[in-house]
């Protein structure tokens, strides 16, 4: 307890927020709660704007008619699923290298959201594929690698769930996540070599996008909304993980008792 107080004294170093202060689960818990609320609020606002653009502003596609509008859910979900895997591996690696508990908890908290995004990308892709390609599923490179990404998430979650000791679970999960992140490009390119039918990427950093500007804007706003949602969901989950792991500590008891008194 003493240590927390002394760390608390150094909360602000020369006006800047001391990040190490918030590396302790106890101090991060209330911060995560506040941040999650902000991220959720931004997600709702951006989502409303994005959906408005998606349904009322963006023009009807010349070839795909109205059916293409699912792109505004499909592409952000697919982007987030890939991005979150890298973020998860990053936090897991930080946790493994510096033995910081909170980093590993972040990795554990990201995994279900990432898996959910991968599932959402596959599901909306199937709904899109049926009217456009005439089939729910094709064994195409991008679909298959997204499915494999979902498997990687599930493997990470299964490994963590199978190990009772949370510290061992963190470190074992970190090794798996790092091995996975090394493998993701290899899997991606091997599957691409194997078969490609999916339309090429419509948005790339090196050339101008092959879609109407309003469509692109709608998609980018939706991607931001998804990002904010993922942040909010992850922070909410990390709060639950912190409480679960710190359930024997004094501050968690005080928190629980305080909540009871308030209620």
């Amino acid at each position: 307890m003493d240590r927390h107080i002394r760390v608390g004294a150094r909360r602000r170093v020369r006006g800047a927020i001391n990040l190490y202060y918030y590396a302790a689960p106890r101090t991060f818990y209330p911060l995560a709660g506040r941040m999650a609320r902000v991220f959720y609020a931004v997600a709702v606002v951006l989502g409303a704007i994005g959906l408005y653009i998606a349904f009322f502003v963006a023009p009807t596609d010349a070839q795909q008619g109205e059916g293409y509008r699912i792109i505004f859910l499909h592409v952000p979900a697919a982007w987030m699923s890939m991005f979150l895997y890298v973020v998860m591996a990053f936090w897991a690696a930080v946790g493994l290298a510096f033995n910081t508990r909170l980093s590993s908890m972040m990795a554990q908290a990201i995994a279900p959201t990432g898996a959910w995004m991968a599932f959402l990308a596959l599901w909306t892709g199937a709904l899109w594929g049926k009217p456009m390609w005439g089939t729910w599923w094709v064994w195409d490179a991008r679909l298959t690698s997204e499915l494999i990404l979902l498997f990687l998430y599930l493997g990470f979650m299964a490994l963590q769930a199978a190990i009772d000791d949370p510290r061992r679970a963190d470190r074992a999960g970190a090794v798996l996540a790092i091995v996975g992140v090394v493998n993701v490009p290899i899997i991606y390119f091997s599957v691409q070599w194997w078969n490609t039918l999916h339309q090429g990427a419509s948005v790339s950093l090196t050339r101008s996008p092959s879609m109407a500007a309003t469509m692109l804007w709608g998609m980018l706003v939706m991607a931001l909304a998804f990002w904010m949602y993922c942040l909010g969901a992850t922070l909410t989950r990390v709060r639950a993980i912190i409480l679960e792991r710190e359930r024997r500590s004094d501050w968690a008891h005080e928190l629980a008792l305080g909540k009871e008194r308030d209620a």
């Binding site: 074992a172 996975g180 091997s190």
Partner: protein, 227 residues
């Protein structure tokens, strides 16, 4: 400690594991029997149409090899974990990655190599042509060590856990996919009249990559599991 000490340790672990496998020959036979029986199930499932079986053969043999080598992984560390040898290996003054490499090499020699040698025989039953059989053997020869190396990481991570076998398959099978694609792809390329060179080169590259990184990752995973 002389400069050759790590190599001597490598040879010692390799010899020990091979000797243990020789004393328990039925373990090796089980893996091979599993491989044969899975391959046998496919014609029974899809029908005895020879042209269909011929096109399916590379995929079927590769998937069966993949499953067989995955099931054999359970025995890679389990015995040493149970009798405490693994802790002695971790405490040994030699790099753990090297010793783990020796264990993986021995494991491949007793489970992977017999599988590679048996595969062409099963390929004959699927009416594969001679050059396709040669490529199949070559691709398995390059691919199965990679499977063992990647699998060792998974085996080390799941050491001593509840339902380790099922969990292992969930962890390892997605990582096996590139090897499967290029392994089966090489045989299909030959069957389709193309050269297998590109596929085999990639398989070789994957093997080199796994050879370099996997023993150290497996060693790290072992340390985590043994804490």
């Amino acid at each position: 400690m002389s400069a050759s000490a790590p190599l001597a340790a490598f040879a010692c672990v390799l010899r020990r594991d091979l000797l243990l496998a020789l004393r328990r020959r039925s373990d090796v036979a089980t893996t091979l029997f599993f491989f044969v029986i899975v391959v046998t199930l496919f014609p029974l499932g899809v029908g005895p149409e020879m042209s269909l079986l011929r096109t399916m053969a590379p995929g079927v043999l590769w998937v069966a090899a993949l499953l067989a080598s995955m099931l054999a992984l359970g025995r890679l560390f389990a015995g040493d974990y149970a009798d405490g040898t693994l802790e002695q290996l971790v405490l040994a003054p030699h790099p753990l990655g090297l010793l783990v490499g020796a264990k993986i090499a021995a494991h491949w020699l007793v489970t992977g190599l017999p599988l590679v040698l048996l595969a062409p025989l099963l390929g004959l039953a699927f009416d594969m042509r001679a050059e396709a059989l040669g490529t199949l053997t070559l691709s398995l020869l390059l691919g199965t060590p990679t499977l063992g190396l990647i699998g060792a990481i998974g085996a080390a991570l799941t050491l001593g856990l509840r339902g380790a076998g099922l969990l292992l398959s969930l962890l390892v099978l997605p990582l096996y996919i590139p090897v499967l694609i290029f392994g089966a792809g090489a045989v299909e390329a030959v069957a389709g009249g193309l050269g297998p060179g590109a596929h085999l080169s990639v398989l070789g590259a994957l093997l080199v990559l796994a050879l370099f990184f996997a023993p150290w990752a497996a060693a790290l995973a072992l340390r985590i599991s043994l804490e």
